[in-house]
Symmetry: D2
Subunit: 289 residues, 4 copies
Amino acid sequence: MKFTVIGGDMRMVSLAMALEEDGHEICTYALDNAPEGTVKCCGLTAKLASTGADCVILPLPVVNTRGKLNAPLSAFTHDPYELIKQLPDGCLICAGKPDEKLINLASKLPLELVDYFQREELVVLNALATAEGAISVLLRNSPITIWESRILIIGAGRIGKMLAERLRDLGAYVTVSARREADMANIRAMGCKALDTRKLMGELSEFDTVINTVPAMILDRPRLERLKRDALIIDLASNPGGTDFEAARELDLNTIWALGLPAETAPVTAGRIIKETVLNIINERQKTK
Amino acid sequence: MKFTVIGGDMRMVSLAMALEEDGHEICTYALDNAPEGTVKCCGLTAKLASTGADCVILPLPVVNTRGKLNAPLSAFTHDPYELIKQLPDGCLICAGKPDEKLINLASKLPLELVDYFQREELVVLNALATAEGAISVLLRNSPITIWESRILIIGAGRIGKMLAERLRDLGAYVTVSARREADMANIRAMGCKALDTRKLMGELSEFDTVINTVPAMILDRPRLERLKRDALIIDLASNPGGTDFEAARELDLNTIWALGLPAETAPVTAGRIIKETVLNIINERQKTK
Amino acid sequence: MKFTVIGGDMRMVSLAMALEEDGHEICTYALDNAPEGTVKCCGLTAKLASTGADCVILPLPVVNTRGKLNAPLSAFTHDPYELIKQLPDGCLICAGKPDEKLINLASKLPLELVDYFQREELVVLNALATAEGAISVLLRNSPITIWESRILIIGAGRIGKMLAERLRDLGAYVTVSARREADMANIRAMGCKALDTRKLMGELSEFDTVINTVPAMILDRPRLERLKRDALIIDLASNPGGTDFEAARELDLNTIWALGLPAETAPVTAGRIIKETVLNIINERQKTK
Amino acid sequence: MKFTVIGGDMRMVSLAMALEEDGHEICTYALDNAPEGTVKCCGLTAKLASTGADCVILPLPVVNTRGKLNAPLSAFTHDPYELIKQLPDGCLICAGKPDEKLINLASKLPLELVDYFQREELVVLNALATAEGAISVLLRNSPITIWESRILIIGAGRIGKMLAERLRDLGAYVTVSARREADMANIRAMGCKALDTRKLMGELSEFDTVINTVPAMILDRPRLERLKRDALIIDLASNPGGTDFEAARELDLNTIWALGLPAETAPVTAGRIIKETVLNIINERQKTK
């Protein structure tokens, strides 16, 4: 098959290389600044690069916060809405979290646009790679071992649970806070201590490390004030985060807003996960045809 | 508070004893054959036994396969539908998997009937105790260690996953079969090998032990024929099970239909789990009042 | 190669079958009551059975407590000292824990007698199989789950450590008692709580289960008196054990003296471990020649 | 008690602070450049700083490679042999890996000099902290997750085993190479694959990461040539290491010689471990008196 890989960070480079290793033909675009010896650009325009492609893969996310194509490895700025107009008819487009505008545009063109970030297998393995990335961030920023340290994980979603299991295995005393009784039961089943996220307050002073996974303002000033002065806070929640960063700064708390996991800590694995998901999408499409 | 505990197996005895230890007043009924020194019967009729009770707890399940009250520790046969008519007005009734008839009856009387088996926290911890029970069954029936043995778990539901994690920790080579890509991803995330349940066939000959958790005919004759002669089959699926038991017998395969877990392997813990769930139900009711 | 397997329990049967599967020629003796379809006797005397053998394997232990050959699967009684006199010259004899008399006899005959129970690899894997066997005994005899139960392991030797790791992984709160600071450190490194075996007393009342691995009188009457009435005691120490069994009986404590692990719980694996060790012995002998 | 803490890195700062938190009186020397707000220097000379001390703690190691006191947090250079002459009579001196010259000097003065690095509890917990540090180094330097990566650990000593268990728990396919059959058995008991260190060659091409723990030239040029081009090598062996670093550089292999673990990755925990060991030494001395 022929794939065109457009934009994105090192995950997309890894994805392109892994597809090539599998024997596929690869074209890239908007990866002109990728490290030497990895991928090579195959066309001066998206149109040229995607000619004859069976599948075009757009980055995760497709559009950055400034409304442009997410393409940190390109020397140029690209308009994602102009770009998809150049893609060939009948071509499958796999995109990570496309915005409304892009989805609408694709449906009118018409192009088949699939959001690979909605695939459960990607979400699960991405959560796992994120949990491991969080351990990397923790190890890098803490002067104590995970072993025998007291760690609070806020939120018992996928990342929270996977992180809890791993930190427990590394010998930490792990507490996880959640809201539902079912989650509390799951936390106990994992051998961790369960707390109610809504009632977190006095116990906060016990923890060496607090890792937030919930995208809501949990670590507000009153709670931050309860933490030990040398506690480490790692916030994994995407924008706007779950921490009052301003208050944390004033209280001189060591706070890390770890966005961009696992792209930063394990880009090759993260790229392979996207690759597998895209191949699953293609396989399922062929079966239903 | 005053609780009346009616019928059931050793789980209900454990539940009654645990409530008593917590300082509650306990009456039992239809537990007249419980082991000496555990609980004592408090009334000759359900009516007398439940007079003044804040909460009546019925067994899991309430009704046995013959349409009678599930009461293996009673010398008598009890009609569950007659029995609930004797319960006092305004009393909370916690019952395990009540049938339609009982639910309808309660709504007409009117009695507040809550199915504690629908509570997520019970389902989670019960699954855990079941997984551990399955390990007990496996250890008891296998001449080889779990360590370095090749085990297939069919189904990646709650029990399947909890069992997989534990067998992996005990050193087995664990394969889990599932159908959804998300489950496949979860299986890999746990460090186990994933297979597609629908395609199970040739690989079956590799396994020392096969544990089924899926309530559907998975282990049919063609599949059973692929198993090693000395393989052990443990079927955890409730009636009618997931194995062609007739074929298994003809093929002389060591097959165990392990129903009644965890009541049989860990009645005390199973009773405590019901106790905690009932107390959660009561607490939530008081809050919303 | 040709092996003669003499006496022993189901481990020796498993050992013989495994060697046969590997393509070796097998003769057995004093296994005349082994289950049908497993091994067949090849000679009416040890002499006949071992004619032409490259290696004779004697059971673990060779001699039973009555001074006879350990041969529970034979209808007859055999004298081990008479038996080895019948073995052919120049034949390697692998025996499990031969006594002084047998060693002396062999050196005079002369026969090359190797004690496979002195091999580290057997000791390690046997300890592992014993630890798993102890879990089987525990699960079979306890009405509570290992998960969330409080377990004390006395002794941090091989079996104690392997058992502690596994029970921890199954979700127990594991405490291990030891005497040396190095062991205390190892226990903490495993994520378990460490106590000093010599000072065990008041804390004993916390435990649901106590597992002794130390071959010395640890669980004497004063300590037994501190245990909960419904505590379970499992003693893994070989004769005379580490428990005052008389006192335990008087105190009505549920006490299990689990001798014969792993022969009883995992004979096939235990037999394979002996097989691998015997093959290692043979390989090393050939290299040094 | 009064402690004087002399020289060393952040571990000694952590040690001093932890002793102070325990209520002890602390003096420091040769820590004049420690971060503000941590410890304060108490004397202009070692003599003044140690006056009245019950115990003087010297760093790990005491002497650096240039024959001077190991004191990276001091602005000055200190002669360890001159320094101990200034210590008060009858004072216990706890030192990490003192050299021959220092030991001889102390015995003549006479001063009681104890090497805390010979204490098993320190060695065990230090190995654990080192293993965790190695995971930190690995996570920081690898573009793939530990999960599903293929890792070879050379050597099954304390660090090798602890590292293997943790990487296995994080989902890696872990192989450990060793030389003794007993270690091979232990590796299998841990659920890892065992290889013979002496025969390592062709399999080397399978691994994403190779971690050496053996202080001998294991990763020589012929072996390095077998590694994948994008393999990561982490050498934990102290000077001169176990890798032909010259060859690794020529082969353009990503090689990290991770000396100084756990001082670098977890100085606070490493300091606490020394503190506990020193307190154990003091306790045992008082008992025997």
